[in-house]
């Protein structure tokens, strides 16, 4: 079920009414479990069974890890959990990708092998709920979480519908404590949740889908050489689209959870005002970057190893982060590019980090612009469906097609320019703050007008039900 659909509007209204109309906390949790499975099953009912089986297995494995006496057996149970989760992910998401690459490898050594194409349907949000579930056994293994006694609570932690299919990746350790006692609603919490949902939908429906996606799609599907202006505008359109699409979903999720009394952490913190790439990853898809940091980067040795090893660790983490996004080498290159950016930044910091000029306003501004530019270049690989498109785009962006075609209308150019400028301006003005502080400080009439304007634009846009980009991951 999409947040930007009529079905969800009705579904959410019914769930909220029943939820707050029910006194028993147990009954409320049961209601949320049923609602979450209906929400997920509304895409493809059989996949709800897959979700349940993954959850039930991790519940059981979590107990085994906690019960195990020696370090060795704890590790064995953890490996079982990792293997179970990753094999599900591997089969559904990477099955065909692995077979294709195996075929390519065989061909490289002269063996002709034609694997069957597996007709596998990717369960929506499998990458997200696998990580929700995996965080549970990992945290029990690390000794920072006690296993829950209630399977129902764990099912709810993994499948809680606001964050189920496209994040934020909410760790069981963050969510389970909220199920201990019934949440109360603080003053304004419900309405603030509704405002956040309006903001999220506005970002998705109006800014991502209406203002930017059409231009990005046309540019990335154009088969010919493009002018530098059109190429850059296409990439900037996608940079804005993916931010508004994904951040919009996260904000909706946070808002919906708030309406039900739950608190989810921020997943985005004005990333296009980042100064440097480590700063970018502290602001972009925070739940994924912290997941990879805590469960992969640090166990690999983190920064407590020799610099070369630490740099390698960083690249490995970003490589896997790229692969997490999709079963294609273009995503891997996107991840590796970010890994390289992080390593380069680290080297620069070693040499110039303490210099006075490196911390003045102008340098910081230039570094911010350079970060945005480099992030845009990386987005080319994220969006392009193959390397020939990516190469053509990059060539266009760097003047390789002096007589390239112009395919964007003036209206589209204005839309991309205005939305991007406003987005970057908003990110820079809020980079040290947060949306709650901004809303508190703004005059009431501005909050009222902005909320009304967003709601009216959503109605005017009529919420064409484009799926969120991150559903495919």
């Amino acid at each position: 079920m999409l947040f930007n659909s009529l079905t969800f509007v009705v579904f959410f209204a019914v769930v909220v009414t029943l939820y707050w109309g029910t006194r028993s906390w147990t009954a409320r949790k049961n209601l949320l479990v049923v609602a979450s499975y209906i929400f997920y099953g509304a895409w493809n009912p059989p996949f709800a069974a897959l979700l349940f089986s993954t959850t039930a297995m991790d519940f059981w494995l979590g107990r085994q890890i906690a019960k195990a006496r020696g370090a060795h057996s704890r590790r064995v149970w953890l490996i079982a959990s990792i293997c179970m989760n990753l094999s599900m992910l591997g089969f559904f998401k990477y099955g065909n990708f692995l077979l294709e690459n195996f075929q390519w490898l065989m061909a490289g050594i002269g063996i002709v092998y034609h694997p069957p194409h597996l007709d596998i349907l990717l369960p929506v949000g499998i990458s997200f709920y696998t990580f929700h579930s995996l965080s549970y056994t990992l945290d029990i293994y690390r000794g920072v979480l006690q296993p829950t006694k209630s399977l129902r609570d764990f099912i709810l932690a993994v499948s809680f519908f606001p964050q189920l299919v496209a994040g934020p990746i909410v760790r069981a350790g963050d969510f389970l404590p909220q199920l201990v006692r019934p949440p109360g609603l603080r003053a304004g919490q419900f309405l603030w949740g509704l405002l956040l949902m309006t903001l999220g939908l506005f970002e998705k429906i109006v800014l991502a889908d209406t203002m930017l996606s059409g231009s990005a799609d046309r540019i990335f599907s154009y088969a010919g050489p493009l002018s530098a202006l059109d190429s850059w505008l296409g990439v900037m359109a996608f940079a804005g689209q993916i931010f508004f699409d994904f951040a919009g979903y996260s904000i909706c999720a946070i808002g919906a959870a708030l309406c039900l009394g739950f608190h989810l952490k921020d997943n985005f913190r004005f990333p296009y005002a980042a100064i440097g790439f480590s700063d970018f990853w502290r602001r972009w898809h925070i739940s994924l970057s912290t997941f990879l940091r805590d469960y992969l980067y640090i166990p690999l040795g983190g920064n407590q190893v020799r610099p070369l090893r630490a740099a390698t660790n960083l690249v490995i983490v970003m490589f896997l982060g790229g692969l997490w996004h999709g079963a294609a080498w273009t995503f891997v290159v996107w991840g590796l590019l970010h890994g390289s950016y992080l390593v380069i930044e680290r080297v620069i910091r070693v040499f110039f980090g303490d210099a006075v000029w490196a911390n003045n306003r102008l340098t910081r501004l230039m570094a911010g612009i350079a970060t945005y530019g480099a992030v845009c270049i990386a987005w080319v690989f994220f969006r392009a469906s193959n390397f020939s498109i990516a190469t053509r785009m990059l060539r266009g962006m760097f003047g390789g097609h002096p007589h390239g075609d112009a395919i964007l209308s003036t209206r589209e150019i204005l839309q991309i320019g205005i939305v991007t400028a406003c987005m970057i301006l908003a990110h820079w003005s809020l980079r040290e703050s947060n949306i709650e502080t901004a809303v508190t400080r703004l005059p009431r009439w501005i909050v009222t007008t902005a909320w009304a304007l967003m709601a009216c634009s959503i109605i005017l846009t009529q919420g064409n039900s484009n799926a969120f980009i991150y559903f495919q991951f």
Partner: protein, 380 residues
Amino acid sequence: MPSSTSNFKRKLRLPRLFFASPSEIVPRDYERPIPQIPWRGITVVVVLIVIAVAWAWELYCRSIGYAPTLNDNEDLWTMARRNVKPESVVIVGDSRGWYDVDLDELEKGLGKRPVQLSMGGSCAYPVLADLANDKDFHGTIICSVVPRLFLAPPGAPPMDLSEKAVRRYHSQTPAQRVSQYLAMPLEEHVAFLKQEELTLDDLLKRLPIPNRSYAQVPPQLPPYFGTLDRERRARMIEECARPGSELQRRIQQIWLPLFTPPPPPTYIPIEEFIKSMDQAIEQRFHDVATAVQKFRARGGKIVFVRFPVAGELKTLEDRTTPRSQTWDRIMKETNSPGIYYEDFPELSSFNCPEWSHLSAGDSVEFSKRLVPHLRSALEM
């Protein structure tokens, strides 16, 4: 504590050089801040503004000629597709098979109520192929042919439109199905709910902003000129059918660039491009013939129909897609019966107000006159 865990914890405690602000591992008491502002008052004002704006917009849209009607989208098409029974009569193709056919008249004449699967601006082939692959279906297909759409190459908008609908039929989720059922009563009562006309995107597209002289911008699509019911029966609105109306004139001027072949791409040599287009057209003839053969092999019947076209659009179509190279080839390759409106005086005496479709009234009369030809072609 196991050594591995303590080692892990020790590592976590060490200062990190790279990640400046590590998040806490077990944030059990996390609560989001809630802005402390007068929420109730603000919400009441917002609700009042939204209701007032929506009401004003609705009144304005009605005042300039819009009326409530269903949106044609993949979900409505899927609803109709689900109504196809093994022996159904099905209409497929483009907007002429959509506007020019009256389901009541065809039901009277053919004995079965047809299922309307035509779509505006679409190519018939993907739907034809889907019906040919549907082993349960062995009824009758009435296929409208506008050569430029029927022979559109893969990847072109007419093909995308049909393929998207067919895909939705095979993969519609329960949520999409429910959304369609919820949307229909709203669309039947609210005039501004027009997904191809009154959305913010469409309103922005209509802004008179000049383009770069060398920019390759896609042509404009026609504005709202018809209504649609739950059976997907399309009817031209009065304003469009009224002789000399502004709307009629506007639509006529939109058809011409829309039906004019676009310039060849700059990045492929022109000979190569023409060759690839010719190959795509030949492939389409072959694919259509294969689909028709497959469908006929299990007892299905098919008839192709060329619906009326008029004015400068007819001149343009005759010039760019001549009958001998398109219609006649389809007839020959598929060895199927066909009804070309110009061959019959009783079918060619109709006027298309905006050059491409019949008015709602004429579509009834046209369908009445079409029935005997259909019966004869289908050997009924």
